[in-house]
Amino acid sequence: MLYVVILFLFAAITLYFLLGGADFGAGIIELFTSNDNKHRTRKTSYQAIGPIWEANHMWLIITVVILFVGFPTIYSEMCVYLHIPLLIMLLGITARGTAFAFRNYDAIKDEKTQGFYNHIFVYSSFVTPMFLGIIAGSALSGQIDPSAKTFAGAYIFSWLNWFSVSVGLFTVALCGFLAAIYLIGECTEVYDIKRFIKKAKAMNIAAVVLGALVFLASHFEHVHLADWIFGNLLSLAAVIAATLSLILLWFIISDKKNKQWIRVLAAFQVSMILISVGHTRFPRFVIFKDGSSMSLLTDHATGKSIDDLGIGLLVGSLFILPALGYLYYSFKKKDNGQAVEH
């Protein structure tokens, strides 16, 4: 049952990245849209994520619950040493979630308050995935130091280092990329399609550059990222698959008929990156400065808790997945009726 739980953990993280990440990306795209086009971008992204955006963020809750029920020591250690980035990420989630809801449900849509919500929304859309990336980077970076004597050593430099920060930026670029690809398929007008294709390409280039930065930073921070990834076959295969799919994507992106395929390719690419990193470090989840680590295979809850959690997740997904599938299906039927009726 432990493996079922671990599978759910990785599935939840991946889905959060793909769905929630695309959702953050919509805000990132809006941030990098010229003022003239902001309104168009907002409208498209609202149509795309309006009905499903709450559901997209539930994967984070599932991830957290799996961690604290199944892997309580890992969860509590992360909470102690990554307190500050977690806090900033929470602020981002709060600001973003409420700003999105408020701008859509404010009964009076005057420019001043809408502008205020938009501001909060786009900046928190940037900050939140950045810090999610920083947290993930920190768990792998080996900078977490439980024996640190100073406040900064224990609670700041555990996450504020070149490696973690570049992983954060890389995450932002990937989210923007996912969103742009996703939004291409949502547009009806050629003008918008062209715009989002351009955005997708720009975000993709940014992701590649920042990905290189991650490797560079890993070198300076003595994280053996290159060894990890190129040192084992599956991770290497995953990275090659991601690169190939990227090349293919650039070839077919301009053709409108391919809009479903480019989504699949983009999602595939991001999943491959996650698999590559996840596999090379598995079962280690958090790595400390002294080289020791916490492992999903040893630092888990005992017997019955894991069994019950696994059963709970299996039974829960019987309810959730069909309902979620139907939700996506219902709102993709392209009737584009009035989103909200007044």
Partner: protein, 435 residues
């Protein structure tokens, strides 16, 4: 500010706000579904308009409740890692199920909010019902996790180790039913009175009277019925506390000395040093009766509990008095409402009658917050009753006070915004919902 106090304050603050958002978020969908049902059955457009207007409120509260709930699921670890390290696997079951229920709620809400003119009428209605049911289920599950902290079970604590863990037993601990019942009824009465109060104000000001009267009626029927039922569930809770948490019960009553014919103290100012209550009204034998169903039997007081295991007495006592006071007031108003509904229809047009509901708008939430204070402060100094002290659970990270200031700022800002948005919703009723 001491880090431990800061952590406790931050947790209290977060829960104090989350409890409001989530109660409204779980009860409003029920009101919404009733109104929706009436619209489908009668085709009276006013019900459709009420449904849509309320659904906007639900969306606002759901979003706020969802983010404050996300914050809480992290705060448990950020502030109390020592607790989560051990408690996570034991009381995690209701949280995992709550994750599922919450997920379903989010999916159903997506269908409901965006489903007008897209979905089959009855399927659309059912999605609204699912929002309500999964919301209430989430509430019950979270309360069940809290009740485990008050009445831990499903594990053996041997030599500082937690062994023989049984998550299901932990979930269905002795206190879960009484706490879940009390909390659910409280959510209905608090939300019912708050919603009804706002609509009563609009009726009093003669704005869109037809619209607001229909909305008022749906809300207050739930609120009033819940307020009338609540003392019964309170009695179950008090008996449970007497059995499992005598220190909490004694602090609620500021009951210092163990004796027979134990009196019930109403109001008063507890003097902890002198171990007595000044200016309170004592009703001899009533506490014995409430706890043991007879006026004579001895009730254990604070003198039976070592000082280091006693909760803060004054806070618990005051909070309990406030809860009971407001609860009684609401029960009375609830009874008056049903008298008006069945016998005295003319009251509905009277200014005093409407004013009564306007004044009672916050009553339910005041009682609810006070009751929550009783549960949580009354459990101190324990985070897991009798097993782990709150002070053993707190994070080693210093400087929590700044995090507390930040959270205070955020919650107040959020609340200001939510009030602002609701005000604008109500302001726009004539244009959007009731032309």
């Amino acid at each position: 500010m001491d880090d431990f106090i800061a952590a406790r304050s931050q947790m209290a603050l977060s829960l104090g706000f989350h409890i409001i958002y989530s109660c409204i978020g779980m009860v409003m969908p029920v009101f919404m579904a009733i109104s929706h049902y009436k619209w489908i059955k009668t085709k009276d457009p006013v019900y459709k308009n009420i449904t849509i207007a309320w659904s906007k409120g639900v969306a606002i509260f759901f979003a706020t409740g969802a983010v404050s709930g996300t914050m809480l699921s992290f705060e448990l670890g950020l502030l109390w890692p020592g607790f989560m390290k051990h408690a996570g696997p034991i009381f995690g079951m209701p949280f995992s199920l709550e994750g599922v229920a919450f997920f379903i709620e989010a999916i159903a809400l997506g269908f409901f909010l965006y489903g007008w003119n897209r979905l089959n009428t009855w399927f659309h209605w059912v999605t609204g019902i699912v929002v309500g049911i999964s919301g209430i289920a989430s509430g019950i599950l979270v309360v069940s996790a809290n009740s485990w902290m008050n009445s831990p079970s499903g594990f053996d604590f041997v030599n500082g180790k937690y062994i023989n863990i049984d998550p299901l037993k932990a979930m269905f601990n002795e206190a879960w039913f009484s706490e879940a019942l009390h909390m659910t009824i409280a959510a209905f009465s608090a939300t019912g009175f708050a919603v009804a109060g706002i609509h009563a104000l609009m009726i009093y000001r003669k704005r869109n009277v037809h619209f607001h009267s229909k909305a008022f009626k749906i809300a207050i029927i739930f609120g009033a019925a819940a307020a009338i039922l609540q003392p019964l569930s309170g009695d179950i809770s008090a008996k449970g506390a007497a059995k499992r948490q005598p220190a909490k019960l004694a602090a609620m009553e500021a009951y210092f000395h163990t004796k027979e014919y134990a009196p019930l103290v109403i109001g008063g100012i507890p003097d902890t040093a002198a171990k007595k209550v000044n200016y309170g009204i004592e009703i001899p034998g009533l506490l014995s009766f409430l706890v043991h169903d007879n006026f004579k039997q001895q009730v254990n007081g604070l003198d039976k509990i070592p000082v280091k295991n006693q909760p803060p007495i004054a806070v618990t006592h005051y909070a309990f008095q406030i809860m009971v006071g407001f609860g009684m007031l609401m029960m009375l108003i609830g009874i008056l409402y049903f008298i008006a509904l069945l016998k005295k229809k003319s009251w509905f047009n009277k200014g005093w009658f409407l004013k009564m509901f306007i004044w009672a708008t916050p009553a339910g939430f005041i009682a609810l917050e006070a009751g929550w204070t009783v549960t949580e402060v009354g459990r101190q100094p324990w985070i897991i009753q009798g097993v782990m002290r709150t002070s053993e659970a707190v994070t080693p990270m210093p400087g929590i006070q700044y995090s507390f200031y930040l959270f205070t700022f955020i919650y107040f800002t959020l609340s200001v915004f939510v009030i602002f948005l609701l005000k604008r919703q109500i302001q726009m009723v004539p244009e959007l919902y009731d032309r």
